[in-house]
Structures are given as C-alpha cells and as structure tokens.
C-alpha cells in the first residue's frame, strides 16, 4: 500500500474515477491550467480536456447551479468552491435546490452532486480564507456533509460521494492537505458515508473530533497518557451529516465522559448537535458534563499570528478540558 498526502489521495481518486466514468465532470474557478489554487486538479485538464474540466466564470451560484442541472440530466458533476468562505453566493442553489430536489419532487428527481471545498484555519488565511462553517450545512436534511482528514478516508469517502445519489458537501482541511500522510489502499476502496472511526481506543474519556482538531486531540490524549492520566478514546467523525450515532453512543456508554473538539465557533456547531445527542441518548452513562472545546464567539479567524493562535483550540486547551473532566 502506498502512503500518500491527503491532497494526493484526493487528486488520485478524482483521476481514477474520471478515467473510469465519463459522466464525471469537474467545474470551478481555476481548476484548469492552474489545477486549482491548492493544485488538487493539477494535470486534469491535460488528460481530460476542457469539456470535462471547466474553468468557470468567477460566480459560485453558477458553479453549483449549473452542476445541479448537469446532475439531473445524467452527469456526475464535481463542483469545486475555491474556499468554503466563498460558498455563500451559491447558498440558494445548495440549500433550496440541491438539498430539496428529491424531497420536493417526491423522489422523481435526484441530485448526484459533489461540492468540494477547502476549509479550516491555521494557514494565515485570515477572516475569509480560514472559515469552518460546516454547521450551516449539517443542519440541512437532504445534504450529506463529510470532512475526512485521513488520506485513506478521503479517498474512500470521495468515491462514495461521487456515486451517492444525493448531494454531498466534501470538506477538505487545507492545512491537512500537505501535512497529513498515511497509507491509502488502491483498487477503488470506499468508505461509507455516515460512519465514524475510532482512531484510538481508550477507557476513561472519549474525544470526538474531526479535521485538524482530530490531530490536536490525539496529541492531547497522548500527552495526558504520557503523564499517567486517563486512558483516552478518540473518534474521528469523518461524516458530519448523517452522524454515526451508534459509534458515538457506544464509546460514551463505555467511558462515561466526553469532550467534543472542533475549530468552528462553539455555539451551534457540530459539537452542539453531538452534545445534544449524547444528552438525550446516553444520559444514564454520563459521569461528568458533556464538554466542548471549540472556537470563541468571534466572527472569523484574524490574520495576525497571536490572534490566530488565540482563536484555534490546540492540544493544550484540549488537555485542560480533559483534566477538568477527570475531576468528575
């Protein structure tokens, strides 16, 4: 098995599926000669041509809206939004159209569309190149939202997303692109949408996370265990909608303590839903409060390094939460 960076796992999967299925087209800003601003689609236009790799005008509503039209008419479009921060002009198309087409037509139409978007902070991207606004989408029935950070998971989930009958928002952490490397199976492996993964087993406390915060969580868990503290179980949600309630509840019932870690604003984030789920379904097993470590209630991540650092949770702030929880 080859080891790959996250970005290469995504790119290789796109290439493999485009070779295998000519219904797939890619459209977005700078996806052609430039190969995308992060280079995920590098080389694609040379192999597949301008008909399948479309450099769009700078207009996100058209990227998603046209992709919807193509999806309902036999193609499997993969739309790229250059940064998740710039998805807003397409919101009507995503929320009122893609997410509702199946329901409003009582199943007569489906919308097999993938929207890829880099998200996340820690890259000096400032207010508008760092946002983690996934929770806007996870509240939307009709949409699926995945956020893999492990390269094999990204490859497997991308393949599932492409052939899923419904619209999938595929979130790629831009800091992880060239930072996270792991083994990736060849031969068309898939990872089912809606399945979380226990990435580290433990018995005293559960951390539930995703994206780059998964890696901060793992670091916090290892630091705590190295000090002889609690044994920590770490779960990567991978899919943010639908949530894998089974894996979440099984772990929390075992450990009785949980910290949910995410880099989006705390209020109304994915962690709020996970916490509510645990409170409703696992209350008898809890030995302490359901805790969240997330970003403060400021609108976005500032540019200046000290402010960016102060915004993002990290292994230390997660560790502090683990220690507070250990006291219960």
């Amino acid at each position: 098995m080859a080891t790959k960076l996250l970005i290469d796992a995504i790119r290789d999967t796109l290439f493999a599926e485009m070779r295998a299925d000519d219904r797939i087209i890619v459209l977005g800003e700078d996806v052609g000669a430039r190969g995308g601003v992060f280079r995920v689609t590098a080389g694609m236009i040379d192999e597949f041509g301008e008909e399948r790799v479309i450099d769009t005008p700078l207009a996100e509503s058209s990227i998603v809206g046209v992709a919807i039209g193509a999806a309902v008419h036999g193609l499997l479009p993969i739309a790229e939004i250059q940064f998740l921060d710039f998805i807003h002009p397409a919101m009507d198309q995503i929320m009122n159209e893609a997410a509702k087409i199946r329901y409003r037509s009582a199943g007569d139409f489906g919308c097999p569309l993938v929207i890829r978007a880099p998200y996340g902070g820690g890259v000096h991207g400032a207010l508008y190149h760092s946002q983690s606004i996934e929770a806007i989408f996870t509240r939307e029935p009709g949409l699926k939202v995945v956020a893999p950070v492990n390269p094999a998971d990204a490859a497997g989930l991308l393949r599932s997303a492409i052939y899923d009958p419904d619209p999938v928002l595929f979130l790629e952490h831009k800091k992880a692109y060239r930072l996270i490397r792991d083994e990736v199976p060849e031969n068309g492996h898939t990872v089912p949408i809606g399945k979380a993964k226990v990435v580290k087993e433990g018995s005293d406390v559960t951390i539930i996370s995703y994206g780059m915060m998964l890696h901060e969580s793992l670091a916090a868990a290892e630091a705590l265990e190295a000090k002889g503290g609690s044994s920590v179980e770490v779960i990567d949600l991978r899919t943010l909608r639908p949530l894998d309630t089974e894996t979440i509840l099984a772990s929390v019932s075992k450990t009785g303590k949980v910290v949910i870690v995410y880099e989006a604003n705390k209020v109304g984030g994915v962690g709020a839903e996970v916490a509510a789920l645990i409170a409703e379904e696992a209350f008898p097993y809890l030995d302490g409060p359901v805790m969240r470590v997330a970003a403060p209630e400021v609108p976005a991540i500032p540019f200046s390094p000290p402010l960016e650092r102060a915004f993002l949770p990290n292994a230390e702030t997660i560790g502090a939460a683990l220690e507070r929880l250990a006291a219960f």
Partner: protein
C-alpha cells in the same frame, strides 16, 4: 477573441480635450504611481524574506488607479476599493506606515488592527469603506452609499473598484441594475487585467469589453487604456460629473495588465506564458508615464531623482516603523464583535 490587448484600445478614448491637469498635477500623479510601485515592490521583498506571509499587488494598475483618484475628492467622495487599490488608497490619505502595519499584521494597522489580510483596505477617517475578500460584494455597498448620499442630499460620489473577474458575480449585476433604476451617484470602475487568478478573460465572458455590460442597465460604459493616467482621469471626470449632476451611474473599464502573480500564494508560470508578461513590459504604466513626462519636459531627471529618494526614505521609514510595532495582544481577539 484572444487575450485582451490593452494596447489595442484607448486611442479614441485617450484624452484629446484639455484635461485641466496642470504640470504640477501630472508630476504629483507620477509620484503617487511611483510610490505605490515602490511600496508594492518592498512588500514582495519582505515576503521573500519570510517577514510578510501574504502580498497582493497593484503592479500594472497604478495609472488606472491614480487617473481615477484624481477625479475624486477624498474629503467628500467615498471610495469602495478592492484588494489591488494600493495607489488609490494612498491618494485618499492612507500612509506607507499604515500599509506596512497591515502587511506585517501589527497593532495600529488602521484597516483592521491586524485582523485582515494585507490589501483589505478600509478607513472611515479617509472615506474608504472597509472591505472583505469575497469579490464583488463591495459593488453593492457602493450602490447603497450612493443611495444614502442621494437621500441625504450630499454632493458625494461613491466610487467602487472591481476586477473584471468580479463582474461575473451576481452582486455586480444586481448593483448596476439597482443603481441605474435609481440614478445613483456611483461609478463602477473595472480594472480589467485579463485574468481572474489563472482564468483568462475568454473563459470568463463572451465579450471583448466589460464596458459592454453597461448597455444592459442603460448606463454609459466606456473602455479606457488603463496604462494612461490622463485618459483614465478624463473618463473618470466625466463619470463623476455626471454622477454629481444627478444623472446616475457609469461604468468605466480600464484595461491594465497584472505584472505579478495573482498573489504571493500563486505561481503564474503554471498558466501564463512568461513571454506574454515580458511583451507587456513595454506598457508598464509607471515607466511609460515617467518617459512621457520627461519627453514633454514636465519632469526633469533631477526632479525624478528627488522624487525617488523621497519615496525610498518614506518606505524605509514605514518598514522600520512597522517592524518595531507590537503584534496585537491575544486579549484583543474578542473585541468589536458587537457595538453595545
């Protein structure tokens, strides 16, 4: 249509009538352009030295911006810029020190106290609206500023800038439509450098001139050679006067060229033939204007040398000033979320 050719336009749009610019004005125009260029070059130096994580440039746009700026009155007109408008904001009163504080994300950066990336201008004191990254959102704000100015019976013109790429967004079209219906005192200034990052104009729109978009909204649309500040000044003055007379908005397209990569995060060699860039060098607006002024005897070599050393001193001062400025304190993170 192939790649747009700024050299192919503007002969008819070039100022023929007296522009009302004195020789001193022309020299002042040149000094602003040269300052913007030199400041921009310094920002790249700092980027390469690892001191500035991000740079976005005005190189190639200076003549368009300064020609436009001279048609405005910074004391009462409102500028709604985009990230390339370094030369324009300098004319409106932003200083090289301000720019360097923003570049290095230091406390005291008047645009955002280090919160925004460099190039995201804004200063109430200077009548420059705060700006974001999502392209073309500002075009609607300028329209709203004009709506309020008209309502308040002010003699204010709103001037907004956007790249040709941004004219594909719905917000751009909605702004033009709204402004034209209400005959608002706003000028839409498109700095057309032929690229939206890597995407050439022919993949962005099926028209040769962005100015053609004006017709769909029943407002004047002109294309000018954006490497000639005097031509831009003439077109801008006409649009501003029209707005002040209450006759409504105008669209001006200035054809320019982008002499740098899109930003310091870009590598333009992946999509732009270096020969194309080299061929455009003859149209470098700063070098050309300098040559014109020298040739016309408006500027002397000695004057030019004095201007250049003044600029270098200003930029050295600004760089040192910003390097010594502190970063914001982490406690400032939560300030200014709400006003009360």
């Amino acid at each position: 249509m192939t790649h747009h050719d700024p050299g192919g336009v503007g002969t008819e749009a070039r100022a023929t009538a007296p522009t009302g610019l004195s020789d001193a004005d022309l020299v002042r125009m040149y000094e602003f352009m040269a300052l913007a260029r030199a400041l921009d070059e310094r920002m790249w130096l700092l980027n390469r030295a690892g001191q500035a994580p991000f740079v976005i440039s005005c190189q190639g746009h200076e003549a368009a911006q300064i020609g436009a700026a001279f048609a405005l009155q910074p004391s009462k007109d409102v500028l709604v810029p985009y990230y390339r408008d370094l030369a324009m904001v300098l004319y409106f009163g932003v200083t090289p020190r301000d720019i360097m504080l923003s570049l290095l994300a230091r406390r005291g950066d008047p645009a955002s106290q280090g919160r925004q990336m460099p190039g995201h201008f804004g200063s109430r004191r200077h009548n420059i609206l705060t700006t974001s990254s999502p392209v073309a959102t500002q075009v609607l704000h300028a329209t709203g500023v004009a709506l309020a100015a008209k309502y308040r019976r002010e003699d204010t013109v709103a001037w907004t800038c956007v790249g040709e790429g941004g004219t594909s967004e719905g917000d751009f079209h909605e702004a033009l439509n709204f402004a034209s219906i209400h005959r608002l005192p706003v000028v839409f200034f498109v700095e057309n450098n032929g690229y939206a990052i890597s995407v050439p104009q022919r993949k962005q729109m099926a028209i040769e001139n962005v100015a053609a978009r004006a017709a769909g909204y029943n407002m004047p649309g002109v294309t000018v050679d954006g490497t000639d500040p005097v031509a831009v000044y003439a077109a801008a003055t006409e649009a501003v006067e029209r707005a002040r007379r209450g006759e409504g908005p105008s669209l001006i397209e200035a054809k320019v060229y982008r002499f740098t990569a899109h930003s310091s995060d870009d590598d333009d060699r992946t999509y732009r033939d270096p020969q194309e860039l080299e061929a455009q060098r003859v149209r470098d607006p700063v070098a050309r204007f300098r040559a014109t002024l020298l040739e016309q005897g408006v500027l002397s070599e000695e004057q030019d040398a004095a201007i250049r050393s003044r600029i270098t001193a200003q930029i050295n001062d600004a760089t040192e000033f910003a390097e010594q400025a502190p970063y914001p304190d982490p406690s400032e993170l939560t300030l200014h979320v709400y006003g009360s």
